[in-house]
Symmetry: C2
Subunit: 379 residues, 2 copies
Amino acid sequence: MSNIKITEPVLLLDAQKARRNIRRMVEKARRHGLQLRPHFKTHQSQQLGRWFREEGIRAITVSSVRMAEYFVEDGWEDMTIAFPINLPEIDLLNQLAGQIQLNLTTVDPAVTRQLGREIQHELNIFIKIDVGYHRTGVQAEDAACINQILEEIEQNDRLHFMGFLAHAGHTYKARSESEILAIHEDSIARLRKLREVYQKKYPSLVISYGDTPSCSIAEDFDQIDEIRPGNFVFYDLAQSQIGSCAKKDIALAMACPVVAKHKERNEIILYGGGVHFSKDFLDLGSQGRSYGELVRLEGNFWSAPIPNAYLSKLSQEHGTLNVTDQQFDEIQIGEVVFILPVHACMASNTMRAYYTLDGQWFDHMNGRAIQLLKKIESV
Amino acid sequence: MSNIKITEPVLLLDAQKARRNIRRMVEKARRHGLQLRPHFKTHQSQQLGRWFREEGIRAITVSSVRMAEYFVEDGWEDMTIAFPINLPEIDLLNQLAGQIQLNLTTVDPAVTRQLGREIQHELNIFIKIDVGYHRTGVQAEDAACINQILEEIEQNDRLHFMGFLAHAGHTYKARSESEILAIHEDSIARLRKLREVYQKKYPSLVISYGDTPSCSIAEDFDQIDEIRPGNFVFYDLAQSQIGSCAKKDIALAMACPVVAKHKERNEIILYGGGVHFSKDFLDLGSQGRSYGELVRLEGNFWSAPIPNAYLSKLSQEHGTLNVTDQQFDEIQIGEVVFILPVHACMASNTMRAYYTLDGQWFDHMNGRAIQLLKKIESV
């Protein structure tokens, strides 16, 4: 941290923690004989993506066609877009399908047919299954819809059925390991039933499953082929509340200058607001909300969260840090404090760049134009 | 809207509405003999800022030193940074103070002294007064602190006392005109008392006041010199819930492709999530949350919100639109729907660009590098 003077909010990345988080998931996948197809929507960073490549990862997940394009630029050649097919983007889909192994997810027979008409290259299709999260997906029991989609795929030479894909996003409402595991068991049971029904006709079908809580905690992946967690690379306070990680695993912290102190309320005002953290919060019940927790930087590491010191309010650029008497006296205006974020994906998305504790700027897709500018400057 | 094919979420700007909102506030300020120093943190756009200039505005408010720099680039020469002095940014502050009429806001005597030591050009200082919002500011009754700050200013030739500045941000918790007005009256009463005390010694002191709810609704600005609303240029559903505006005044809508439909829940899945809208929501009590309301585009205008059609959930890229049976049947996968945002400032900040209904891309500070790239390309 010696090579940067922090004058405004900066999103710090602890490379050691993130790489350890990656390695741990890679090893877990290997132990269970699973393909790890990590979701890159959390970090959205080409440079960070290379850490996964160094661990042997060759296939990834993204959440938008634009994000696919961003990672194709950095040489990724096998990608699942885990988002319903967005037909208005057919031109870019055609371009990508001509360049890489592209896997799309469908929830609808008519959209599948339309895709088949408009796509000019071969690609794989996952059927997205709703295992109880109820965001999107075909109900696991809805054999009619599944069979209609399969028929559409069969009728088109360019479309290949890849398997069933599910996201048990309802684990995000869990508050303990046992709650996570209950959802996990229920979800994979539904997927196993699908395998039983379709395995014979499609012997190479892939069951793709994933969400960071399940993949972090569960040990039963019987009949699952692939996992797609994303958030685990950074983790965050929300994941810690769910029970997916320990706070010491959190690999991001926001550096925020202190700009004011209000003794009568034991509140410290930070330069660091909704435009930096985004607005996700932990509900503390009668204690209000937490938008982040204070840690202390000690050389090239940060400490565990300081008890009773949390961001209680956020407006556009202001953050309000609630502290104890002692902390209030210790922290001075003009110094920089460090805050663990509630939701790593959203904070990264808003910040658009990372600064590693060993002094490198890492890209984020939203700062893409900045990367292009740097390229132009260096020519 | 004929000249763009919407393939992914796009933040649409109704120029007519925004310009009408601007004109209305300009006229109101004129009627009350107030200086309107609009807060540009809402739009963060150089192009949009020019609409204010066309209405005669020459002095503006920003919420960060970086934002000041962005608007200096477009020729603005009189600016208040309505955020506590952030000493680590002294180099940029020095640069700006050498270029324009810069006004800073202070809440602390020691910071004021330190600023005085490090600043190389003359600038004006507002004392930020807490009129009840309790985010930051000196309590209006804290004469000791106010006098200490004034002493620091007096002792430095480069610092000039400009007056008292307040932001009655607690109006954002109001839910009716009368609640807004009660806060407004209480706030300006505190400011009037300060004027009484300090007017004699500082006959040209400025009382600067503002927040969009008060400035939109109140008609009593006696003893106030300047107002600094920002959000009024766009308004949004939060402002409409507070009582600051009618929904027909809202000048932004997010265009989102429809990617899936779930009849069993009357839910329509949009490409449009937290990375587009940010995560602000209206609390609907037992009905959950609303992250936006559906409107229909009719030529170059959008309709009033369609009753009972609102975004009930947001994840990173997915938005879940709750609709009635009839709406469910009418809206098709692949088409584009239009959503009024809950919080215009945050949605703009995340989207980083605007597309006007008459077919122009407008800049946002966060897309700055894109603007620079365009300049390079056009050379």
